[in-house]
Symmetry: C2
Subunit: 548 residues, 2 copies
């Protein structure tokens, strides 16, 4: 048996640690796990920050990305945007303090929401190559500078050195950093795919990308307007937990709980306060600073029992069905698609979210594996592509629960892309690395409904294609036999072979009008064989919105 | 288009946040997602801390757990241990500061390693019910007190109130806290199952549990010795990244890099330093405080090319095959099992880990679903049961990759439990909630090999059972027909029916000696039909260790 140790001996080693030390030791929790994924995580963090910054400033994003190989499993990543830039005095904290930023405390929909991303990149750069991040920025106020940034991990504080002037044109931020233990790979989980999907969900952004071989790609913008910046919103009362209620109340300047409720939350009117009064009584006349846990609990209980208008959809900015259509056309150019934008729903009782879904068929949709096609699911949260941890994501779980074959769709063998974007003021990510949406029942259910809508929208088209395919194949088989038959009939009967052939052709054409081209249309795979009068093959006409 | 906003307007909102605020907002990342899982997370954190504290103090753990329902989806959790207790001046920081503790900075194998667990429970208690955690403790120095503990989340600092004297007997810590948005459930993902599995992987711990209905369970200890506390160890040079090397060097008191290497790392001898000198030259005579990134990179490069003795297995404390056998017998009492303890392996180039695996068959193994059985996989990391996120865990991935049917095992329909425990100084968890082991190739591969070993160990037994089952079934069918047949033969030929029956029995027995009981053994399902001479059914004899 080991020797006994006393508490005071053990606690002599007690220490507190900074969050930077924590993530330095556990970088896989930030998405820095595996050489390919780690590089995607870097690109993801920088692009996310750039697009958020542009949108926040009302600027159409123009982003340049360059990934250069500098050694074995070593790459340099350069990202430049035309956003508002970062004031000199904030550059250190913005790029090298974990849990610092403008977004964390806001109740507003943005891509980043944690204040970890860019600082995580700095941490990864310095722990993998020992090098600081080089930053260059210019703001509309005329600040123009470049500098080197790293993190003092023991204290989670920025170290900024080498400030020099810069001649950067326009406004914006450029970062360049070198990373080891990373690898560029052309795969479904690689940087190129990540950027392509970013372009898909952000048709207003223009992205130029140079890969390590020097090849240049430009994803042109498909839409010329900046999505309106979602306004910070008052929380909906149904989404407020007891501790939040108490915290809001104690910080409130309102004179009474009743006015505090109206001032603080969306959808609370004096009429509604009247309703709540029946359940909660005099408490509403107290000062909100004096609210107790029991008061807050009673208040939240009364709120849950009342009927409320749904949250204002305008607090969430979905991509929009039209923009998704343009983006899918621009990037995947499918033969056919159906896009669905659903109405806002709630999870956690009161946090609003919107699901958009699309099924795209043919063209550049799906994945080509050697000579075969298979379907793929493109997951997005607030327009940010999710490439990893698919198994544990609400989108994957919902997609698996749809009986695709009922709609004529086979994700195992068809060129189909299933697109899902979940937009919310708060995305419940399952991990710090933000690669999967937690499987909240309401979210899974709503995604499933959206996917079923989208699948219904393409089923006639796909069924038509399949019927077409089956008919063509039968037609060809029968024609093969019939050719030999007409020869034999001609030999046996002495009749003119061309006559026999012509009559046999007419006979077959009567039974297979479409496949034989005898319905006045070509054999080009058009989908009008399903009898519903739909014009298959025209993505714009058929891809109408539902659920609006 | 939105109005343009300048950088200085945007950055006026810039703030820094505490890690406590972060996890308050993102508690699902700590495992507080879903009512059932949240309750398990609480129990898990407290038990883990208790067992670690006991082991660290060299005490045989004796733990009492009580879960009481206090309202709808509201429960109180009480956990008391006989550990060393917590000195009064540390109680606040131990229970209510995130990222504080004795474990984070040590290079030693323990269950907890993050300094988040207990403080996470405090955070969850206060945000879900508004109530502090009640703590009571006594140390060997005679400190005896109780108090209330909560977190000032804005600053991540403890708030300790209501200190009073206590008459607690012995040493130890008792915590009691109330949680809302939780639910007790008797399922594979519930508290009872968690505790049962904890007992399975910790046969030296005694655990008494009272469930919300008042039912009491006691998991008696199967082993009477405290596992020796793993000693903090020197890191193995193969596991050291460039930034770690640099950090170690800059903190070193050694005069030269050469002596620094010998002092700091395991397995570095002066002979080895001689080898390194050929690759790195004079750098080894520098002061370690003057080491540059380039130096450290060259040094790490030279280390990777040299041959090293594997890390000392003694730095890792696996459970041990004998203890696993006793625990499985004690808790599952299977008909048969095979336990494998493998040799230490490395991941990340130099972090040692040990995999233990077992396959248990029959008895209380597997899961009973109505009248059918199915297999289950019991996952453990440093003896801590992992109940959630199984899909993304290295253990699940490895278990799926084994072709069980080749060993006669069918996890879909047999009463089989597959047990895997991964022990390491550093477990690469995929998330802060520590519910899954990251899928590092070396770990997945090693688990697979361990499972194949374990499966081989039971295959003769299982094959025997199956053959036995098949033979018995054939014997019974033939006997059924034969009975009628002997009657008919007797009627037709006039021969004595008993004579015919006897001869027919002898005939059948000749073909099915075991099933008919004519080999001098019973029909009791013994597995000696496989011809390898193994005595099936005796777990102790057959379950020999491999790989030691």
């Amino acid at each position: 048996m080991s020797e006994e140790r006393k508490a005071n001996e053990i606690f002599a080693e007690f220490k507190e640690h900074s969050i930077a030390e924590f993530f330095k030791k556990n970088r896989q929790m930030l998405g820095y796990a595996g050489v390919v994924r780690s590089l995607v995580t870097v690109v993801h963090e920088y692009i996310t920050n750039s697009i958020d910054a542009c949108e926040e400033a009302g600027i159409l994003p123009d982003i340049t990305i360059r990934v250069t190989q500098t050694g074995e499993n070593k790459y340099s990543v350069y990202v430049r945007d035309n956003g508002p830039g970062i004031p000199k005095k904030f550059i250190g904290r913005a790029l090298a303090t974990i849990l610092a930023g403008t977004k964390f405390h806001r109740y507003v929909q943005q891509r980043g929401q944690q204040g970890i991303g860019a600082a995580g990149c700095t941490l990864f750069a310095q722990t993998s190559t020992g090098k600081p991040v080089h930053a260059e920025s210019a703001t509309a106020d005329g600040e123009r500078y470049s500098c080197s940034v790293s993190i003092d991990t023991l204290r989670n504080k920025p170290v900024v050195t080498d400030f020099t002037d810069s001649s950067m044109a326009g406004t914006g931020l450029a970062v360049e950093a070198e990373f080891a233990q990373v690898k560029y790979e052309n795969s479904d989980h690689g940087v190129y795919e990540y950027i392509k999907r970013t372009a898909l969900a952000n048709p207003h952004a223009q992205i130029a990308f140079t890969d390590p071989t020097g090849k240049e790609y430009t994803f042109m913008r498909a839409v010329d307007t900046v999505p309106e910046m979602p306004k910070p919103t008052k929380p909906h009362p149904m989404g407020v937990a007891v501790n939040d209620m108490l915290e809001f109340a104690h910080k409130s300047d309102s004179r009474k709980v009743s006015s505090f409720l109206i001032d603080t939350f969306a959808r609370v009117t004096s009429g509604k306060v009247g309703e709540l009064r029946e359940a909660t009584g005099e408490m509403l006349d107290k000062s909100p600073r004096g609210l107790t846990w029991a008061d807050a609990e009673a208040l939240v209980g009364a709120i849950k029992k009342a009927k409320w208008m749904a949250p204002d959809a305008s607090v969430i900015r979905a991509i929009g069905a039209e923009r998704i259509k343009l983006a899918l056309k621009n990037i995947l150019n499918p033969d056919f698609m159906h896009v669905v934008e659903r109405k806002p729903q709630l999870f956690y009782g009161g946090v609003p979210f919107i699901v958009e879904a699309a099924v795209a068929y043919g063209g550049g949709a799906g994945r080509r594996v050697e000579d075969e096609y298979e379907g793929n699911v493109l997951r997005f949260a607030n327009r940010v592509p999710l490439l990893f941890d698919s198994g544990s994501c609400a989108i994957t779980v919902a997609a698996r629960s749809v009986q695709w074959k009922r709609y004529g769709i086979d994700l195992d063998s068809q060129a189909v892309s299933v697109f899902v974007n979940v937009s919310s003021v708060y995305i419940p990510y399952s991990g710090v690395g933000k690669e999967a949406i937690a499987q909240e029942d309401e979210i899974v259910e709503e995604i499933k409904l959206a996917l079923m809508d989208a699948a219904r929208g393409v089923q006639h088209y796909i069924r038509g294609r399949q019927q077409m395919g089956a008919e063509t194949s039968k037609y060809k088989t029968i024609s093969r036999y019939a050719k030999q038959l007409s020869k034999d009939v001609s030999t046996l009967t002495g009749a003119d072979q061309r006559d026999v052939e012509k009559r046999r052709e007419e006979l077959i054409a009567k039974h297979y009008p479409t496949a034989s081209g005898k319905d006045g249309r070509g054999d080009g795979g058009d989908a009008d064989g399903d009898g519903d009068g739909a014009e298959g093959g025209d993505a714009d006409e058929e891809g109408e919105q539902e659920g609006q």
